[in-house]
Amino acid sequence: MNSQMGYAQAIERAIDSAMTADPRVLTFGEDVRLLRRNLLVGHGADRVMDAPISESAFLGAAVTAAMSGLRPIVEIMLVDFIAVAFDGILNHAAKNTAFSGGTWDVPLVVRASCGGGYADGGQHEQVLWGLLGGIPGIDVVVPSTPADAAGLMTSAIASKRPVVFLEHKLLSDYWLDYLGGNSRPTVEFDVPVEGANGPVDDPIQPVPIGSAVVRRRGSEVTLISLGVGVHRCSEAAESLAGQGVEATVVDLRSVSPLDTETVIRESANTSRVVVVDEDYLRGGLSGEIAALLAEADVPVSFSRVAVEHTIPYARHLEHDALPNVERILAAVHELR
């Protein structure tokens, strides 16, 4: 049995189920009693807590709360703000299990919105999953559909490890209304319909952390992406099919752990790879995939579409800066 729902609603459904099943699950962050009103009404003020604008303190507190019996879902409103709480994630959440000799779990979910396409500028539109995914000791997941959003959140809450759960704002109508003024009929955002709404199983089917999925299979080129990028790839693949070029689209779903098996297999199948990454070009996920293929001796022609500079504010500049269908098509055509 499944029902149709929005991406944000799917996440809320997963959290609601977890909070109903386990009294140790709670959520806190800035404005959550407004943003997560349904959870507040269902589970009470002790388990849905507004936090001061002090990410350092409340993310740090979430780490030890998780280490001492609770299952916190801490919200960092925008992943860009993780910068002021980076110590908690880098030096505590990611380290304490290792420091303890592998014995002390940190069952923490860090939930943050991410991504651009609604003109919020370069301090509010980053994704940072490459940065976060490179840190040993934490998992990073990036769902691109409501079903995956619910399934990955369910797995994240159940995990004994710290999981960073990144929800793209173009897919999450709660965020787009809240931050982007999406309620205005005069403004249009390029929201991928299949990512923003879709079927979600009841009960929710957990999605294993670290498993990619093939969204479309073609023999001539492999497009590897995640988040909104998956939908841009699907659109590009549709266009390529019209030109007689069949593309595979891989949705990574997890940045860390990375589903290396799927990446290698699907890359080897076509020998032509384009990584479409809304994160920065350098020092991140797209380079990691290139290294992975090189280490596995997979001979491919390789290209990447990523963010190369600070994301600009103006709509047309923002469009050019983020991975878009035109850039993906150009990258495919330039491959050997």
């Binding site: 140790r24 002790d46 807590m49 936090a51 001061p52 002090s54 350092s56 303190a57 409340f58 993310l59 740090g60 507190a61 979430a62 780490v63 030890t64 709360a65 998780a66 280490m67 001492s68 019996g69 609770l70 002021v84 110590d87 908690g88 030096n91 505590h92 380290k95 304490n96 290792a98 420091f99 303890s100 000799g101 592998g102 014995t103 002390w104």
Partner: protein, 357 residues
Amino acid sequence: MLGSIGIKPPPEVPMAANSRLRKLYESTVRIRAVENAQNHLWHEGLIPGEIHTGIGEEGIIAGVLEHLTVDDAIACDHRPTGVFTASGVDPTSLLLEMLGHADGLCGGRGGHMHFLSESDRLISDGIVGSAGPAACGFALSAKTLRPGTIAVAFFGEGAMNQGMLMESLNLAKVWNLPVLFVCKDNGWSITTHSGDLLAGDPATRAKAFGLRTDRVNGSDPTKVSATAKRLIDRVRSKHQPALLHARCRRPDGHFLGDPMIRVFDDPVGQTKEIGGPLPGSVRRGSGSRTAQIGALSGLGIRLGSLGMQRIGANRWDPLLRLRAKVGTEAAIEIERRVSAEIRTNVSDALRIAEVSA
């Protein structure tokens, strides 16, 4: 019990007071013995990394821990040996951890700055100020899962300039978290005099957040104990945070081998040995020790302040102060017994690690 039927309880009998004093002294002696053992192993080169000793803080640790229960949680800073020792963690496992051995408390993965013990709900941390948020998290879970228990954060006055610690004072207040913040004020922010860096003072800052605060001489364990008890009772019963500001001394510097300490103790000899910018500026000092130390004044307030601290070191030694109250005979018995215990811990650790010192 007596109070509940309207009869004033009798004053504490001296025997019980003596026994409490002796226990407190034993705790400080045990901490000092493990710290000394650790320092010895470091000087022997068997502990390879940094060691931040807690010598000078024993009275604060013992005085606070006297009033904690096994269900309370503690977040330490980068000087955790004393807290772990006083909490009853096996000193052999601490020493093995510092030796980097698989049988150490954390399998040799954490080292001296990252002792962690889940069963004791004890953590330590090498990032200055992080004990604040960490204690808040422990206290948050305590509220729902272990009502009546509290969390304690140990940190220095240098950490009072760290944003996350200031944030956690606020968080603890607005979330009604049972946290006792303990500021061990040794006067130094790494190797810079805190007087030059800290606006206002720790207790006044905490008071501004609405926390109950108290100041105490941290080198007087009985005073620490009495003050900590008042605050802890309140934190426990009211679910409200409080801050204890305790002054102490740091005779061994920021970490073992602190170049400032080495230069102060042996201006000419050490400046030939060590690298960095310090040697050139003091190498001219020769002749009498006074002249050598005089030459150090060129380094500004740092060594001058250090000198003042080192000169008065004994007065600030919490063990010497408490020893006078315990009495020589009882003190010697405690010192002999605890020293023997810790010597056994050391020899066990060395035997297991198959090294000798």
